[in-house]
């Protein structure tokens, strides 16, 4: 089972989309709200080398933005 984390802010529509997509594929994930968790925000910036959300981490692999093709390929979905 892949370990999936989504770094997001509550007012970001692409974050909503990414989480909707994961839920539609029944993929469990941890939602990390970087708007309230400053340490998580710094961790996200360090891991992704940039300051945009969403950042999706799948088994340690970093995806910046809702990149459906990459998400599918890392999760082994067609």
């Amino acid at each position: 089972m892949a370990v999936v984390k989504v770094y997001s802010t509550p007012t970001c529509p692409w974050c909503v989309r990414a989480k909707q997509y994961l839920a539609s594929k029944n993929i469990p994930y941890t939602d990390i709200n970087v708007a309230v968790d400053r340490n998580a925000a710094m961790e996200m910036v360090k891991k992704s080398g940039q300051q945009g959300v969403p950042v999706i981490e799948i088994d340690g692999n970093i995806i910046v933005g809702f990149d459906q093709a990459r998400i599918d390929s890392l999760l082994g979905i067609a």
């Binding site: 802010t9 007012t11 529509p13 909503v16 989309r17 970087v34 959300v53 067609a78």
Partner: protein, 319 residues
């Protein structure tokens, strides 16, 4: 198992012939979907990213009629989507690569399938215009953002420059006050162009600064943004504004490149329509921000959607 299921879905899509395919699921597309559904047209909306499109990036819409205390952009979009589905309009999330619109049967090409329809409404909207300055591309995501509601939280207590002074820029400046008070607006025109009520609100924040008649020339920094260099046009003076984040709200450009060869566009790339929202191609209509119009708002997009759907209904009756 999952692979097989998805293939079957794709086949089903391309076997169907729709009365109407709507490209874009923002307020224009969704409203067209509501009206077309109620007209009992077999309708499909194709949305590439998120229902609501640009309106989904607005935290609170205060000028959309019917919601006197405002409504969230995402929330309104979800209501519209449910409303369209209630009348049997289908919604899928996928990207339109190109479209063959000249024939009697229109073909809309996705990455892995083609959808056929008797009529098409192009409601693909617009995307934020990119900043034209040295370093704009280099620092995209590394301090430059086009969506404060998305990325604003990453700039808590930091120094922010907002480029532009229309409704979007001022709204986002107001939104950002919860994260930082160090906000500087840089606007090329010598005045703010936002609604008066928004101008009043932003001016109530004493620490917010304004450079009007000023153009950003360069974004500076090593791995992320550290400052911007700007030219105050009237004084022909150059200044450097320290900044950790630059949020750009300088207008939009239309998303019509997937159909440009066949459709008449104006010089800026917006789709030309008559008052019934018909384009130069029979059976093809355009609605919302993507078309030539004076005033782009959620409510005018919704209005276009209704008119376009009505025009499609009349067009199909006469076939």
């Amino acid at each position: 198992m999952l692979q097989l299921k998805m293939k079957k879905q794709e086949e089903k899509l391309s076997e169907k012939m729709y009365d109407l395919v709507i490209i874009g699921g923002g307020p224009a597309g969704l409203t067209a979907g509501i009206y077309a559904g109620r007209a009992r047209l077999k309708t499909l909306i194709i949305e590439e990213m998120i229902a609501g499109g640009q309106s989904a990036t607005t935290e609170l819409l205060e000028n959309y009629p019917g919601f006197k205390d405002g409504v969230g952009g995402v929330e309104l979009a979800m209501i519209m989507e449910e409303q369209a589905k209630k009348f049997n309009t289908e919604v899928i999330y996928d990207r339109v690569v190109s479209a063959s619109l000249l024939g009697e049967t229109k073909e809309v090409h996705l990455a892995s399938s083609t959808i056929k329809a008797k009529a098409v409404i192009i409601a693909s909207g617009a995307v934020p215009r990119k900043l034209k300055a040295d370093g704009a591309e280099k620092f995209h995501g590394k301090g430059i953002s086009y969506c404060a509601t998305c990325d604003g939280a990453l700039f808590r207590d930091k120094r922010i420059v907002i480029v532009g002074a229309g409704n979007s820029a001022i709204e986002e400046g107001i939104f950002m006050q919860r994260f930082t008070k160090d906000i500087t607006f840089v606007q090329d025109l010598p005045y703010l162009t936002a609604e008066k009520i928004l101008q009043e609100r932003i001016k109530s924040y004493p620490e917010t600064k304004f450079y009007l008649g000023t153009v950003i020339k360069k974004v500076n920094g090593s791995d992320k943004v550290e400052s911007v260099t700007a030219n105050i046009s009237k004084e022909n003076k150059e200044i450097e504004i320290p900044a950790d984040g630059v949020f750009v709200y300088i207008g939009y450009t239309p998303k019509a490149d997937f159909v440009s060869k066949e459709i008449n566009l104006d010089s800026q790339g917006y789709i030309i329509t008559d008052e019934n929202l018909k384009t130069n191609i029979d059976g093809v209509f355009a609605a919302g921000d993507v078309r030539v119009k004076e005033f782009r708002q959620v409510v005018t997009a919704a209005s276009d959607g209704a008119i376009a759907a009505h025009s499609v209904e009349k067009y199909l009756e006469n076939k």
